[in-house]
Symmetry: C2
Subunit: 212 residues, 2 copies
Protein backbone atom coordinates (compact mmCIF):
# COMPACT_ATOMS: atom_id res chain seq x y z
CA UNK A 1 0.00 0.00 0.00
CA UNK A 2 1.37 3.37 -1.04
CA UNK A 3 -0.28 6.33 0.67
CA UNK A 4 -0.27 9.55 -1.36
CA UNK A 5 -1.21 13.12 -0.52
CA UNK A 6 0.94 15.25 -2.77
CA UNK A 7 -0.38 18.66 -1.56
CA UNK A 8 1.13 18.33 1.02
CA UNK A 9 1.15 15.64 3.70
CA UNK A 10 3.20 12.88 2.07
CA UNK A 11 5.55 15.41 0.42
CA UNK A 12 6.23 16.76 3.94
CA UNK A 13 6.83 13.27 5.34
CA UNK A 14 9.34 12.42 2.63
CA UNK A 15 11.09 15.78 3.03
CA UNK A 16 11.27 15.50 6.81
CA UNK A 17 12.70 12.00 6.95
CA UNK A 18 15.14 12.82 4.14
CA UNK A 19 16.35 15.80 6.17
CA UNK A 20 17.15 14.13 9.47
CA UNK A 21 13.88 13.59 11.33
CA UNK A 22 13.97 10.38 13.39
CA UNK A 23 10.32 9.50 12.89
CA UNK A 24 6.86 10.89 12.08
CA UNK A 25 3.77 9.93 14.07
CA UNK A 26 0.59 10.49 12.03
CA UNK A 27 -2.54 10.85 14.12
CA UNK A 28 -6.15 11.41 13.22
CA UNK A 29 -6.98 14.47 15.32
CA UNK A 30 -5.65 17.62 16.95
CA UNK A 31 -6.01 16.38 20.55
CA UNK A 32 -3.81 13.30 20.00
CA UNK A 33 -1.26 15.51 18.32
CA UNK A 34 -1.14 17.94 21.26
CA UNK A 35 -0.85 15.01 23.71
CA UNK A 36 2.23 13.79 21.83
CA UNK A 37 3.54 17.35 21.86
CA UNK A 38 3.50 17.26 25.66
CA UNK A 39 5.70 14.13 25.42
CA UNK A 40 8.34 15.98 23.38
CA UNK A 41 7.13 15.55 19.80
CA UNK A 42 7.20 18.48 17.42
CA UNK A 43 3.55 19.12 16.56
CA UNK A 44 2.61 19.66 12.93
CA UNK A 45 -0.47 19.98 10.83
CA UNK A 46 -3.26 21.96 9.29
CA UNK A 47 -6.99 22.07 8.79
CA UNK A 48 -8.27 23.46 5.50
CA UNK A 49 -4.72 24.38 4.46
CA UNK A 50 -4.01 26.59 7.49
CA UNK A 51 -1.57 25.80 10.33
CA UNK A 52 -3.20 24.89 13.62
CA UNK A 53 -2.30 27.70 16.02
CA UNK A 54 -1.15 25.59 18.96
CA UNK A 55 1.20 23.53 16.74
CA UNK A 56 4.93 24.08 16.20
CA UNK A 57 4.75 23.87 12.42
CA UNK A 58 2.16 23.72 9.66
CA UNK A 59 2.10 21.63 6.51
CA UNK A 60 4.91 23.03 4.37
CA UNK A 61 7.73 20.69 3.33
CA UNK A 62 10.20 23.52 4.01
CA UNK A 63 9.14 23.63 7.67
CA UNK A 64 10.13 19.95 7.89
CA UNK A 65 13.73 20.75 6.85
CA UNK A 66 14.66 22.63 10.01
CA UNK A 67 18.18 21.65 11.14
CA UNK A 68 17.05 21.95 14.77
CA UNK A 69 14.69 19.00 14.24
CA UNK A 70 17.48 16.53 13.42
CA UNK A 71 17.02 13.32 15.37
CA UNK A 72 13.63 14.44 16.70
CA UNK A 73 10.13 13.14 16.00
CA UNK A 74 7.09 14.93 14.57
CA UNK A 75 3.44 14.24 15.45
CA UNK A 76 1.22 15.30 12.57
CA UNK A 77 -2.42 15.59 11.66
CA UNK A 78 -3.75 16.95 8.34
CA UNK A 79 -7.11 17.24 6.60
CA UNK A 80 -6.75 14.33 4.20
CA UNK A 81 -3.28 12.77 4.29
CA UNK A 82 -2.96 11.36 7.78
CA UNK A 83 -6.57 10.27 7.60
CA UNK A 84 -5.76 8.17 4.51
CA UNK A 85 -2.84 6.65 6.38
CA UNK A 86 -4.87 5.77 9.44
CA UNK A 87 -7.44 4.11 7.15
CA UNK A 88 -4.75 1.97 5.49
CA UNK A 89 -3.65 0.08 8.57
CA UNK A 90 -4.79 -3.36 7.41
CA UNK A 91 -2.26 -3.39 4.55
CA UNK A 92 0.67 -5.81 4.55
CA UNK A 93 3.09 -2.88 4.34
CA UNK A 94 2.47 0.84 4.21
CA UNK A 95 4.91 3.18 2.51
CA UNK A 96 4.73 6.87 1.71
CA UNK A 97 4.84 8.09 -1.87
CA UNK A 98 5.40 11.53 -3.36
CA UNK A 99 6.91 12.91 -6.55
CA UNK A 100 9.90 13.75 -4.35
CA UNK A 101 10.67 10.00 -3.94
CA UNK A 102 8.97 8.56 -7.03
CA UNK A 103 11.76 6.31 -8.31
CA UNK A 104 12.72 5.14 -4.80
CA UNK A 105 9.08 4.18 -4.21
CA UNK A 106 8.88 2.25 -7.49
CA UNK A 107 12.15 0.41 -6.76
CA UNK A 108 10.97 -0.53 -3.28
CA UNK A 109 7.74 -1.99 -4.69
CA UNK A 110 9.58 -3.89 -7.41
CA UNK A 111 11.61 -5.70 -4.76
CA UNK A 112 8.67 -7.81 -3.66
CA UNK A 113 5.86 -9.70 -5.34
CA UNK A 114 2.96 -8.18 -3.43
CA UNK A 115 -0.01 -6.59 -5.18
CA UNK A 116 0.15 -2.82 -4.92
CA UNK A 117 -2.66 -0.51 -3.87
CA UNK A 118 -2.07 3.20 -4.40
CA UNK A 119 -4.19 4.96 -1.81
CA UNK A 120 -4.75 8.55 -2.95
CA UNK A 121 -5.91 10.79 -0.13
CA UNK A 122 -7.81 13.06 -2.50
CA UNK A 123 -9.88 15.90 -1.13
CA UNK A 124 -12.71 15.24 1.31
CA UNK A 125 -13.52 11.87 -0.19
CA UNK A 126 -13.26 12.91 -3.84
CA UNK A 127 -10.58 12.41 -6.48
CA UNK A 128 -7.97 15.12 -7.10
CA UNK A 129 -5.58 15.78 -9.95
CA UNK A 130 -2.23 15.81 -8.15
CA UNK A 131 -2.66 12.46 -6.37
CA UNK A 132 -4.08 10.87 -9.52
CA UNK A 133 -1.09 12.19 -11.51
CA UNK A 134 1.26 10.63 -8.98
CA UNK A 135 -0.59 7.30 -9.19
CA UNK A 136 -0.13 7.42 -12.98
CA UNK A 137 3.55 8.32 -12.62
CA UNK A 138 4.11 5.43 -10.23
CA UNK A 139 2.30 2.99 -12.53
CA UNK A 140 4.53 4.21 -15.34
CA UNK A 141 7.68 3.85 -13.24
CA UNK A 142 6.71 0.30 -12.25
CA UNK A 143 6.80 -0.68 -15.93
CA UNK A 144 4.96 -3.83 -16.98
CA UNK A 145 2.29 -4.25 -14.32
CA UNK A 146 -1.22 -5.54 -14.74
CA UNK A 147 -3.75 -2.82 -14.00
CA UNK A 148 -6.82 -4.30 -12.35
CA UNK A 149 -9.21 -1.35 -12.38
CA UNK A 150 -10.24 1.58 -14.54
CA UNK A 151 -9.10 4.14 -11.96
CA UNK A 152 -5.52 2.94 -12.57
CA UNK A 153 -5.94 3.12 -16.33
CA UNK A 154 -7.34 6.64 -16.12
CA UNK A 155 -4.49 7.72 -13.81
CA UNK A 156 -1.89 6.27 -16.16
CA UNK A 157 -3.50 7.95 -19.14
CA UNK A 158 -3.61 11.31 -17.29
CA UNK A 159 0.08 11.05 -16.44
CA UNK A 160 1.13 10.10 -19.98
CA UNK A 161 -0.78 13.05 -21.38
CA UNK A 162 0.77 15.58 -19.00
CA UNK A 163 4.17 14.14 -18.10
CA UNK A 164 6.10 16.85 -19.89
CA UNK A 165 4.28 19.57 -18.02
CA UNK A 166 3.17 18.24 -14.65
CA UNK A 167 3.29 21.63 -12.99
CA UNK A 168 0.88 23.10 -15.49
CA UNK A 169 -1.86 20.51 -14.91
CA UNK A 170 -1.25 20.45 -11.15
CA UNK A 171 -1.69 24.21 -10.99
CA UNK A 172 -5.09 23.79 -12.63
CA UNK A 173 -6.27 21.53 -9.79
CA UNK A 174 -8.92 22.61 -7.33
CA UNK A 175 -6.51 22.02 -4.48
CA UNK A 176 -3.84 24.31 -5.93
CA UNK A 177 -6.48 26.98 -6.46
CA UNK A 178 -7.62 26.71 -2.86
CA UNK A 179 -4.07 26.72 -1.50
CA UNK A 180 -2.89 29.62 -3.66
CA UNK A 181 -4.91 31.87 -1.38
CA UNK A 182 -2.39 31.03 1.35
CA UNK A 183 0.58 32.14 -0.74
CA UNK A 184 2.29 28.78 -0.94
CA UNK A 185 3.11 28.52 -4.64
CA UNK A 186 6.69 27.64 -3.67
CA UNK A 187 5.44 24.62 -1.70
CA UNK A 188 3.34 23.37 -4.59
CA UNK A 189 6.19 23.69 -7.06
CA UNK A 190 8.51 21.79 -4.71
CA UNK A 191 5.89 19.05 -4.17
CA UNK A 192 5.85 18.47 -7.96
CA UNK A 193 9.65 17.95 -8.09
CA UNK A 194 10.53 14.42 -9.17
CA UNK A 195 13.18 12.36 -7.34
CA UNK A 196 14.54 15.04 -5.03
CA UNK A 197 15.16 12.27 -2.48
CA UNK A 198 16.19 8.62 -2.69
CA UNK A 199 14.37 7.43 0.43
CA UNK A 200 11.21 5.51 1.32
CA UNK A 201 9.24 6.14 4.53
CA UNK A 202 7.82 2.91 5.97
CA UNK A 203 5.09 2.66 8.60
CA UNK A 204 6.00 0.48 11.61
CA UNK A 205 4.85 0.59 15.26
CA UNK A 206 2.46 3.48 14.54
CA UNK A 207 5.18 5.71 13.09
CA UNK A 208 6.99 6.42 9.84
CA UNK A 209 10.71 5.67 9.60
CA UNK A 210 13.33 5.70 6.91
CA UNK A 211 13.42 2.30 5.21
CA UNK A 212 16.94 0.90 5.57
CA UNK B 1 -28.40 16.13 -13.75
CA UNK B 2 -27.29 13.85 -16.56
CA UNK B 3 -27.32 10.15 -15.67
CA UNK B 4 -24.78 8.05 -17.59
CA UNK B 5 -24.23 4.30 -17.84
CA UNK B 6 -22.71 3.80 -21.27
CA UNK B 7 -22.36 -0.03 -21.02
CA UNK B 8 -25.31 -0.35 -21.33
CA UNK B 9 -28.29 1.04 -19.41
CA UNK B 10 -28.45 4.63 -20.68
CA UNK B 11 -27.47 3.55 -24.22
CA UNK B 12 -30.47 1.19 -24.13
CA UNK B 13 -32.79 3.91 -22.85
CA UNK B 14 -31.79 6.31 -25.61
CA UNK B 15 -32.09 3.58 -28.27
CA UNK B 16 -35.49 2.45 -27.02
CA UNK B 17 -37.10 5.89 -26.90
CA UNK B 18 -35.55 6.81 -30.26
CA UNK B 19 -37.11 3.67 -31.75
CA UNK B 20 -40.72 4.11 -30.72
CA UNK B 21 -41.03 3.10 -27.06
CA UNK B 22 -43.64 5.18 -25.23
CA UNK B 23 -41.78 5.28 -21.90
CA UNK B 24 -39.22 3.50 -19.72
CA UNK B 25 -39.82 2.85 -16.03
CA UNK B 26 -36.50 2.36 -14.17
CA UNK B 27 -36.85 0.45 -10.90
CA UNK B 28 -34.34 -0.58 -8.28
CA UNK B 29 -35.03 -4.31 -8.05
CA UNK B 30 -36.26 -7.41 -9.85
CA UNK B 31 -39.50 -7.77 -7.87
CA UNK B 32 -40.74 -4.27 -8.78
CA UNK B 33 -39.90 -4.98 -12.38
CA UNK B 34 -41.89 -8.22 -12.42
CA UNK B 35 -44.85 -6.47 -10.73
CA UNK B 36 -44.88 -3.91 -13.56
CA UNK B 37 -44.61 -6.78 -16.02
CA UNK B 38 -47.92 -8.13 -14.68
CA UNK B 39 -49.45 -4.72 -15.47
CA UNK B 40 -48.41 -4.95 -19.13
CA UNK B 41 -44.90 -3.51 -19.13
CA UNK B 42 -42.13 -5.20 -21.11
CA UNK B 43 -39.62 -6.35 -18.47
CA UNK B 44 -35.93 -5.69 -19.08
CA UNK B 45 -32.67 -5.94 -17.23
CA UNK B 46 -29.61 -7.80 -16.10
CA UNK B 47 -27.52 -8.60 -13.12
CA UNK B 48 -23.78 -8.93 -13.66
CA UNK B 49 -24.23 -8.49 -17.41
CA UNK B 50 -26.63 -11.44 -17.84
CA UNK B 51 -30.36 -11.20 -18.70
CA UNK B 52 -32.67 -12.04 -15.81
CA UNK B 53 -34.45 -15.22 -16.86
CA UNK B 54 -38.02 -14.18 -16.05
CA UNK B 55 -37.67 -10.93 -18.05
CA UNK B 56 -38.71 -10.33 -21.66
CA UNK B 57 -35.41 -8.73 -22.69
CA UNK B 58 -31.90 -8.18 -21.31
CA UNK B 59 -29.67 -5.13 -21.54
CA UNK B 60 -28.74 -4.90 -25.23
CA UNK B 61 -29.66 -1.72 -27.12
CA UNK B 62 -30.65 -3.90 -30.08
CA UNK B 63 -33.32 -5.64 -27.98
CA UNK B 64 -34.83 -2.19 -27.37
CA UNK B 65 -35.33 -1.65 -31.12
CA UNK B 66 -38.03 -4.29 -31.58
CA UNK B 67 -40.78 -2.98 -33.89
CA UNK B 68 -43.37 -4.91 -31.81
CA UNK B 69 -42.59 -2.65 -28.83
CA UNK B 70 -43.72 0.54 -30.57
CA UNK B 71 -45.97 2.58 -28.30
CA UNK B 72 -45.34 0.24 -25.36
CA UNK B 73 -43.49 0.82 -22.08
CA UNK B 74 -40.49 -1.00 -20.62
CA UNK B 75 -39.81 -1.61 -16.92
CA UNK B 76 -36.07 -2.00 -16.36
CA UNK B 77 -33.58 -2.80 -13.63
CA UNK B 78 -29.81 -3.09 -14.12
CA UNK B 79 -26.74 -3.49 -11.92
CA UNK B 80 -25.56 0.12 -11.95
CA UNK B 81 -27.55 2.30 -14.34
CA UNK B 82 -31.06 2.30 -12.91
CA UNK B 83 -29.57 2.50 -9.43
CA UNK B 84 -27.78 5.72 -10.38
CA UNK B 85 -31.05 7.09 -11.71
CA UNK B 86 -33.02 6.22 -8.59
CA UNK B 87 -30.32 7.94 -6.50
CA UNK B 88 -30.58 11.13 -8.58
CA UNK B 89 -34.19 11.93 -7.77
CA UNK B 90 -33.51 15.16 -5.88
CA UNK B 91 -32.17 16.89 -8.99
CA UNK B 92 -34.04 19.78 -10.61
CA UNK B 93 -34.22 17.82 -13.87
CA UNK B 94 -32.92 14.39 -14.79
CA UNK B 95 -31.98 13.55 -18.35
CA UNK B 96 -30.31 10.50 -19.86
CA UNK B 97 -26.96 10.79 -21.61
CA UNK B 98 -25.08 8.41 -23.91
CA UNK B 99 -22.67 8.77 -26.80
CA UNK B 100 -25.69 7.91 -28.94
CA UNK B 101 -27.30 11.27 -28.06
CA UNK B 102 -24.24 13.33 -27.08
CA UNK B 103 -24.93 16.50 -29.06
CA UNK B 104 -28.65 16.44 -28.27
CA UNK B 105 -27.77 16.20 -24.57
CA UNK B 106 -25.34 19.12 -24.78
CA UNK B 107 -27.86 21.27 -26.66
CA UNK B 108 -30.56 20.50 -24.12
CA UNK B 109 -28.28 21.56 -21.26
CA UNK B 110 -27.22 24.74 -23.05
CA UNK B 111 -30.86 25.84 -23.22
CA UNK B 112 -31.01 26.59 -19.52
CA UNK B 113 -28.80 28.23 -16.94
CA UNK B 114 -28.77 25.45 -14.35
CA UNK B 115 -25.54 23.99 -13.01
CA UNK B 116 -24.91 20.54 -14.47
CA UNK B 117 -24.01 17.40 -12.56
CA UNK B 118 -22.91 14.43 -14.66
CA UNK B 119 -23.77 11.35 -12.62
CA UNK B 120 -21.65 8.45 -13.88
CA UNK B 121 -23.04 5.11 -12.78
CA UNK B 122 -19.59 3.50 -12.79
CA UNK B 123 -19.15 -0.06 -11.62
CA UNK B 124 -20.18 -1.07 -8.12
CA UNK B 125 -19.34 2.30 -6.64
CA UNK B 126 -16.05 2.82 -8.49
CA UNK B 127 -15.10 4.90 -11.50
CA UNK B 128 -15.06 3.37 -14.97
CA UNK B 129 -13.50 4.43 -18.25
CA UNK B 130 -16.53 4.54 -20.54
CA UNK B 131 -18.69 6.76 -18.30
CA UNK B 132 -15.72 9.03 -17.55
CA UNK B 133 -15.02 9.33 -21.29
CA UNK B 134 -18.62 10.33 -21.87
CA UNK B 135 -18.43 12.94 -19.10
CA UNK B 136 -15.35 14.35 -20.80
CA UNK B 137 -17.06 14.32 -24.21
CA UNK B 138 -20.08 16.13 -22.78
CA UNK B 139 -17.88 18.75 -21.08
CA UNK B 140 -16.16 19.26 -24.42
CA UNK B 141 -19.45 19.54 -26.29
CA UNK B 142 -20.72 22.11 -23.77
CA UNK B 143 -17.86 24.41 -24.72
CA UNK B 144 -16.90 27.17 -22.32
CA UNK B 145 -18.12 25.90 -18.96
CA UNK B 146 -16.49 26.38 -15.58
CA UNK B 147 -15.35 23.03 -14.18
CA UNK B 148 -15.77 22.99 -10.42
CA UNK B 149 -13.95 19.77 -9.49
CA UNK B 150 -10.91 17.73 -10.44
CA UNK B 151 -13.01 14.75 -11.51
CA UNK B 152 -14.39 16.91 -14.34
CA UNK B 153 -10.90 18.08 -15.31
CA UNK B 154 -9.60 14.50 -15.37
CA UNK B 155 -12.60 13.36 -17.45
CA UNK B 156 -12.10 16.18 -19.94
CA UNK B 157 -8.39 15.39 -20.20
CA UNK B 158 -9.13 11.68 -20.75
CA UNK B 159 -11.57 12.50 -23.52
CA UNK B 160 -9.22 14.93 -25.27
CA UNK B 161 -6.43 12.36 -25.22
CA UNK B 162 -8.58 9.57 -26.69
CA UNK B 163 -11.22 11.36 -28.78
CA UNK B 164 -9.87 10.08 -32.08
CA UNK B 165 -10.03 6.49 -30.91
CA UNK B 166 -12.75 6.15 -28.30
CA UNK B 167 -13.41 2.51 -29.12
CA UNK B 168 -9.82 1.55 -28.42
CA UNK B 169 -9.74 2.97 -24.90
CA UNK B 170 -13.26 1.77 -24.14
CA UNK B 171 -12.27 -1.76 -25.13
CA UNK B 172 -9.46 -1.59 -22.57
CA UNK B 173 -11.94 -0.93 -19.76
CA UNK B 174 -12.63 -3.46 -17.06
CA UNK B 175 -16.29 -3.44 -17.97
CA UNK B 176 -15.67 -4.28 -21.62
CA UNK B 177 -13.40 -7.12 -20.54
CA UNK B 178 -16.07 -8.51 -18.24
CA UNK B 179 -18.80 -8.18 -20.85
CA UNK B 180 -16.74 -9.67 -23.68
CA UNK B 181 -17.29 -13.02 -22.04
CA UNK B 182 -20.94 -12.72 -22.98
CA UNK B 183 -20.21 -12.18 -26.66
CA UNK B 184 -21.59 -8.68 -26.93
CA UNK B 185 -18.83 -6.84 -28.77
CA UNK B 186 -21.46 -5.55 -31.20
CA UNK B 187 -23.34 -3.91 -28.32
CA UNK B 188 -20.23 -2.20 -27.01
CA UNK B 189 -19.29 -0.86 -30.42
CA UNK B 190 -22.79 0.51 -30.90
CA UNK B 191 -22.77 2.14 -27.43
CA UNK B 192 -19.63 4.08 -28.45
CA UNK B 193 -21.34 5.51 -31.57
CA UNK B 194 -21.65 9.28 -31.36
CA UNK B 195 -24.91 11.09 -32.24
CA UNK B 196 -26.84 8.14 -33.67
CA UNK B 197 -29.99 9.80 -32.29
CA UNK B 198 -31.16 13.38 -31.87
CA UNK B 199 -33.34 12.82 -28.81
CA UNK B 200 -33.16 13.42 -25.06
CA UNK B 201 -34.91 11.18 -22.53
CA UNK B 202 -36.31 13.18 -19.59
CA UNK B 203 -37.44 11.75 -16.26
CA UNK B 204 -40.97 12.77 -15.23
CA UNK B 205 -43.61 11.01 -13.05
CA UNK B 206 -41.21 8.13 -12.32
CA UNK B 207 -40.59 7.35 -15.98
CA UNK B 208 -38.41 8.39 -18.90
CA UNK B 209 -40.03 10.05 -21.90
CA UNK B 210 -38.87 11.70 -25.08
CA UNK B 211 -38.29 15.40 -24.46
CA UNK B 212 -40.51 17.33 -26.86
Amino acid sequence: MVVVDIFRATSCMVSGLANGLKSIYPVDNVEECLALGRKGYITAGERGGIKIEAFNIGNSPFEYMNAEFEGKSVAVTTTNGTHALVKSLTAHEIIIGAFLNLTATAKHLQQNEQNVVIHCAGWKGTVNIEDTLFAGALINALGSVELVDDASRIAHSLYLQHKDNLNHIAEASSHAKRLSRFGIEKDLEFCMTIDEYDIVPVYRDQQLWLHK
